[in-house]
Symmetry: C2
Subunit: 335 residues, 2 copies
């Protein structure tokens, strides 16, 4: 089916089905100038978003619509998780080329809605426009958090324990498989592939950390452990000392690294798109926090090092060598 | 200056200067996973936005950065105005190609900030990413409005007077000048050009209408008077009868239409990007509303027709002929 057969409003009607999972807090969604919803009692929040595009494009052949939609929402939810927030409403701007089949686009929204529904997030609106060649998607998410519970990047303190909510490096390995067009047949590779394609935003984990009252700072791992912890260090004016042997890596990643002649610790440090959370917690509460986390999630909240005074960021590798980490970060313009 | 000389974070530092005009309601802005701000007492709102792009592009040579930035925010503020809302926070996603000079980009943000500051809007964050060829901008705006004052599209009532907050058609004429590469030298053409390039969002006018308590429905004119009033009619399940002679058009547009052999009423009806507001008001309050509006803004709030029961949308032209309007709307996929 071609888009021009159903038109813009026909398309919007098709993709807007199932977008409201919590209609009770919504006054106006798709079909008005802005979305209107209740961020709290006696209060209405509005969000509108517009996409300005001349000619856009995407590697449509290298992904399914579902995976593209899922991930474009997941990365935003992960940002809300990193603030300790509750994700509430999502806004999707999309610029669509004439030759893009409706089926692919419906799959994009199916991917988004599947993730949104699991986290009680409404897709409330956005903008739909044309594009000369390529597909562009912009997702905006509105969330809320209590002032006293909000987790920031700039509030780590010397002495804090550095904790992570899940394994690191799997997504990078999955990305390697895709880029090099390697077969994804055995269970190990399927696991790594999925970690990259369908990352799980740690919203519940973020709320748990925020509600604990023991966490000082947090961030989600989008650019990689070293880069993202680096942001906390820079913003908080502190350093860190990590125990490389403690960094949690999956069995799948260990076996992948062995086959590739890679060191799993270095691989995990320089990974990216893991979308687990890094948190720093007061040292006298970190053990208790980890115990309660593991009891609740049936997965560890793993201590991997300490926040230090000063500004050095150092890792001790399993062989005993210590190295200074350059938290270069992913720079879209320099790389 | 090339972007790679200053890098992503250097760029963000440069463009984030002057973005906070109301810092007292902001907890976290650029530099955290999401922006955090107070939508009301004891409440924190978060918004995050992400731009996914493969290869994007823009007619960079046909605009200044300032005008591009200004308009990309203006169209969003106009949506908030159409809800009777107060615009609060803006979020800018931008995908930047390597060859785009920093000066152009700074000019984009200068255009946005200039408009944002005039309307007490913070630019709170967004996303910065690279692009293969073309420039893409997505702006999201958060606003607020009291539940009892919100103006929607679906609440027009038969008998309402249809009012507009400004002249129609100027922007379309300005667009015609640009597309046909016509000289913009005399004052008339400068006026039409400016109406298209630097439209003024009617935020204050929208608040005035919302606070009046007399307005039932409203929308901003982005696609054109006939299309946008058409949205109100469709959503409200009503019709309309417009008096073509009453539709406000500027002297500049009248002279332009004369030189082009165009009928100014038809031109205004089919215009677009005017960003004035259409409102429908209870008939026994419309006169008083217009009087108070004119006293406050020193410009008329012009009655141009009536909402009718049924679903026909009819215009009486100055020569006495009556025609049914097809509120086709701008469809990005069908046209």
């Amino acid at each position: 089916m071609k888009l021009k057969e159903i038109g813009e409003f026909g398309f919007i009607r098709r993709v807007s089905r199932g977008c409201l999972v919590r209609p009770e807090r919504v006054l106006r969604s798709i079909g008005d100038d802005a979305a209107a919803f209740r961020p709290g009692p006696n209060e209405i929040g509005l969000v509108t978003t517009d996409l300005l595009v001349e000619r856009v494009h995407f590697l449509r052949n290298a992904t399914t619509g579902f995976n593209l939609g899922y991930k474009s929402l997941a990365v935003n939810l992960s940002d809300i998780a990193a603030m300790g927030g509750i994700a509430r409403e999502a806004f999707v701007s999309i610029a669509i080329p004439e030759d893009c089949p409706v089926e692919f686009l419906e799959d994009v929204y199916r991917g988004m809605r599947s993730l949104a529904a699991r986290h009680d997030v409404n897709i409330l609106g956005g903008d739909t426009t044309g594009s000369k060649v390529d597909l562009v998607i912009n997702v905006a998410v509105y969330g809320s958090v209590e002032e006293t519970r909000m987790l920031c990047r700039n509030t780590a303190r010397a002495g804090d324990v550095v904790l992570v909510t899940g394994n690191l490096g799997d997504s990078r390995a999955g990305c390697h498989l895709i880029i090099n067009d390697l077969p994804v047949e055995d269970d190990d590779r399927k696991h790594l592939f999925k970690a990259h394609i369908l990352p799980e935003p740690h919203l519940e984990e973020g709320r748990f950390l925020a509600e604990s009252g023991s966490v000082h700072a947090a961030i989600d791992v989008s650019d990689g452990l070293s880069s993202d912890l680096g942001h906390i260090l820079t913003e908080s004016g502190v350093g860190a000392f990590l125990d490389g042997a403690a960094i949690p890596v999956s069995g799948e990643l260990r076996r992948f690294c062995e086959s590739q002649g890679e060191d799993p610790v270095r691989y995990a440090l320089a990974g990216g798109e893991d979308y687990v959370l890094i948190a720093t917690a007061a040292p006298d509460h970190a053990d208790d926090l980890s115990h309660r986390f593991e009891k609740y999630f049936q997965r560890p909240l793993t201590p991997i090092g300490k926040i230090t005074s000063g500004d050095s960021f150092c890792v001790r590798f399993p062989d005993g060598r210590e190295e200074i980490v350059k938290p270069a970060g992913w720079d879209h313009f320099k790389q």
